[in-house]
Point group: C2
Chain length 520, copies 2
């Protein structure tokens, strides 16, 4: 790789690969000669694959040292490998996988790195100080939105240590088959989101009254928002709109505002303090991926993941359909056979779920992925998995579950950006890393999102939406290691209060629950 971006460049991920991707902005024309002598037989767009050698019909097409497909016709060296030439291999069976057999590389502890966080009574640490108003049902969303506006205008200015007020609106709670086998997923997701460390144990609840998801079902007695061990067990504060005491709409707003003020007073007492990097709980995901995702941004995230794990922090990677084709790598990296089995269980559940709907994991790829050079889900998956770095996998979460341990965790979620972000929020993340090749203005209200661009061109055009430019790896201006360290330091800054671009513009997307159970 060279700093001069005019030089024709390709990137091969592994010495055994028979294809590589074109690096240059705008792609390269037919006749272009690379330094190794290869000449393009046709124009190849940026991020798309070129055959490095002649590939016979039926031969494996190899990238990341993995068969990403089979040639549907003979492909001469220097040809553009278009999607239509690549046959998707069948999904890896879930039997006879390698189990916990790979020794992870040496991971010396990384000490001395800290950030300024909000420590909670239960020991967790927030990166933001937010009043959350959760809801049992969508019926109350309009009222909560009205109340949040009033709280922001009339109360929030009086509490300078509180960053924001967020209504946790969602579409669950009624009109759903709440006793269906899969209903536990959305229910525990709503429950666990309200326990996110950024809410400081002060989450309040607005309920309608007649909904299926009653406050006592959302928060059974044993599960109380973040608390000290010495604190009395207390029910969360619930404002119920149908309470007989509410006469007129403004009485509902008054109830919500009075309850909010109580919690704002408590949240305002929180102060940032020095916390070790081990208190970071980072969720990583990608969206709007291109062929550079697996070459620049995701490897840099993978490097930072290793740094975080070495520092004793927690990192979650997710997106079932994007690891399905690399399941053998992951079961192999599991710290114990039980963890490998849990990973297989999650893949199998998702296989069945997709099958019930008449599709398979190949439904994942998007027009943008393909335009960006990703031929199919296998190629996309190989580029996605690298976000997980190289540490042993020390735990597995089912969708909506809350973390109970540190290290590198596989949190099973759909790849859907907002569902993945919602489920990682429920798991307890206090910092979110999002890599993108095509570009997305993604943001969350509850947790800061650091967006990493895979290409210089995107970073240039979206200069006030992308927080980190990993495109410099492709153009030779930075190494994966350098970017990984840069990202690691940037995470500590954002965790300490530095605003991301999404926060600067106040851009955020709605929570989206994963509800595989029926609507009624």
């Amino acid at each position: 790789m060279a700093a001069d971006t005019q030089t024709p460049l390709f990137i091969r991920m592994h010495e055994r690969d028979n294809v590589a991707i074109v690096v240059n902005d705008g792609g390269l024309p037919a006749g272009t000669q690379f330094q190794n002598g290869l000449t393009l037989l046709e124009a190849v767009p940026q991020g798309h694959k070129v055959a490095l050698i002649d590939i016979a019909k039926g031969d494996a097409i190899t990238r990341y040292n993995v068969t990403i497909g089979y040639a549907l016709a003979g492909i001469a060296a220097g040809s553009w490998i278009q999607e239509a030439l690549v046959q998707l291999p069948p999904a890896r069976e879930l039997q006879n996988l390698p189990i916990a057999n790979r020794k992870p590389p040496e991971m010396p502890a990384l000490e001395g790195y800290t950030f300024q966080g909000f420590r909670n009574p239960d020991g967790s640490v927030g990166t933001r100080n937010i009043l959350a108003i959760t809801t049992t049902v969508q019926c109350v969303a309009g009222v909560v939105e009205y109340a949040v506006k009033r709280i922001k205008e009339e109360l929030l200015p009086k509490f300078s240590n509180v960053d924001d007020v967020v209504g946790l609106e969602h579409t669950y709670g009624c009109g759903v088959a709440i006793d269906a086998p899969d209903a536990m997923i959305p229910i525990r997701t709503v429950r666990n989101i309200s326990l996110n460390p950024n809410f400081g144990g002060q989450t309040m609840v607005v309920s309608l009254g007649c909904e299926k998801l009653q406050p006592t079902r959302l928060f059974p007695k044993s599960i109380i928002p973040i608390q000290t061990q010495t604190q009395e067990q207390a029910e969360p504060d619930v404002v119920c709109l149908q309470d007989a005491g509410h006469i007129g709409f403004q009485s509902m707003i008054t109830s919500i505002m009075q309850t909010a003020e109580k919690h704002l007073i408590k949240l305002n007492q929180r102060q940032r303090e020095t916390c070790p990097a081990s208190e970071l709980v980072v969720g990583v995901q990608c969206g709007g991926s291109d062929a550079f995702s697996g070459v620049t941004a995701n490897p840099a995230v993978g490097y930072a993941t290793d740094l975080l794990v070495r520092a004793g922090a927690t990192v979650m990677f997710s997106e079932v359909t994007e690891v399905r084709d690399g399941i053998d790598q992951l079961t192999s990296r599991a710290a114990t056979p039980e963890i490998a089995e849990a990973m297989i269980r999650e893949m199998d559940w998702y296989d069945q779920y997709l099958k019930r709907g008449g599709v398979d994991r190949s439904a994942n790829t998007t027009p943008g992925n393909k335009k960006g050079g990703l031929s199919n889900i296998v190629e996309k998956a190989m580029g996605s998995i690298v976000k997980s770095g190289s540490a042993a996998i020390s735990g597995v979460l089912s969708p909506g579950e809350k973390l109970t341990q540190k290290g590198l965790i596989y949190a099973a979620t759909p790849a859907s950006d907002f569902i993945c972000g919602t489920l990682q929020t429920a798991a307890g993340m206090n910092l979110h890393i999002f890599t993108t090749g095509r570009g997305t203005p993604y943001g969350l209200a509850a947790v800061p999102v650091i967006k990493v661009a895979t290409r210089n061109d995107l970073a240039r055009r979206w200069h006030d939406l992308m927080d980190i430019n990993a495109g410099r790896i492709a153009s030779g201006e930075a190494t994966i290691e350098e970017l990984g360290w840069e990202l690691f330091h940037f995470m500590l800054e954002v965790a300490s209060g530095k605003k991301t671009w999404a926060e600067y513009w106040k851009l955020h997307n709605a929570l989206v629950l994963f509800n595989p159970a029926p609507i009624t």
Copy 2:
């Protein structure tokens, strides 16, 4: 029924019923004697059922002249019929149903009723004049929300004929199995919502660029927002955030605002004009139901439905799980055998859909329904169906489809309030009627919602959220006919621009799509 609400009162729906419901606010104590001599053996809450005669174990419990269940124990006359005493009957099989065999009552045409509406080039009529900004994918929601705020502050005040600017945000568009068999439901829903008559054919689109639901897929060439027959076929205006021309976040906002201004100019030329009542397209539904829903509000809506049909208007009723147990009544009322078959097809699809998720139609009822006196889905369904009045059923829509005819239409949707409202909006409704017994602050951004309370107590407490009080029927202050006419006149006023309470407070809930296909 008497005007004096202190007199102990019950309501029996049909002379053959062996149960009736207690009318009085707060219920009635043990020992209460009714005018017919019946004495309560125990206290019975308001809206709950009392046995009118001794019912033996295993005997049918009859309300609305329908078996709503079987007695699980002997029940003495004057006893409270608690939910636990009622065994749910099996669902009516979908074979051997009566088909189009019931002659509807005489329905003389009702002429001369008009409202002031916005007539569209395609002949449809809006009741509001709204700029809609639809979206292909949730990724753009934060940006659209930012832009809508700016448009409302900076542009809307210049266009006095335009009522509002609405971002049609939803959670579909990417991270979904877009080629799954059931994916057509959410896709056509998003498409058809943007064609709602209240948007005057001026809906614009914000797209990300790499999403699965590309603008050309959402709006194929043949389907263009409302147009005249003489108009040139024109693509809808699309702002694509990933366009290479967008440098920096504010350039995206500028693009959206410039496009919005173009459409605001056109919308501002619209004027209300006198339109016959036949241009009303009314969606009726209920939510937060109690035992009074089927006694007061829903019968009044049913009466108004008949008035609308007589006036040549369109009325949709919906909520599959709430008509499933009365399917024989509906197939019987179908105008043709084909319409009856279409209704059976929708029921069967939903039966299978629920079965795949491990539940059945009994998953519908809520804690609030039960608290309100509804023992099970059969009893709830009988009270729900009466909203449809007595006309012949002249058409059936599948979820997300757009209306093509007038009269009484069965629009198959889940009972979930927001999904039903979203699908009726997609069908083309320009006015929404929502009855509630427990109370809900329900509102929609695109279509005015008239809320009808089933009980005096709710209407009193929620005096500035409920638009019509049908509780007066139970207390003898008004007849069903009187309330039906009152509602009919109120509909014409609201259609002409009068604000509902939800509009006054600017309360509205998010669109919720029905997506039975998998997430990826």
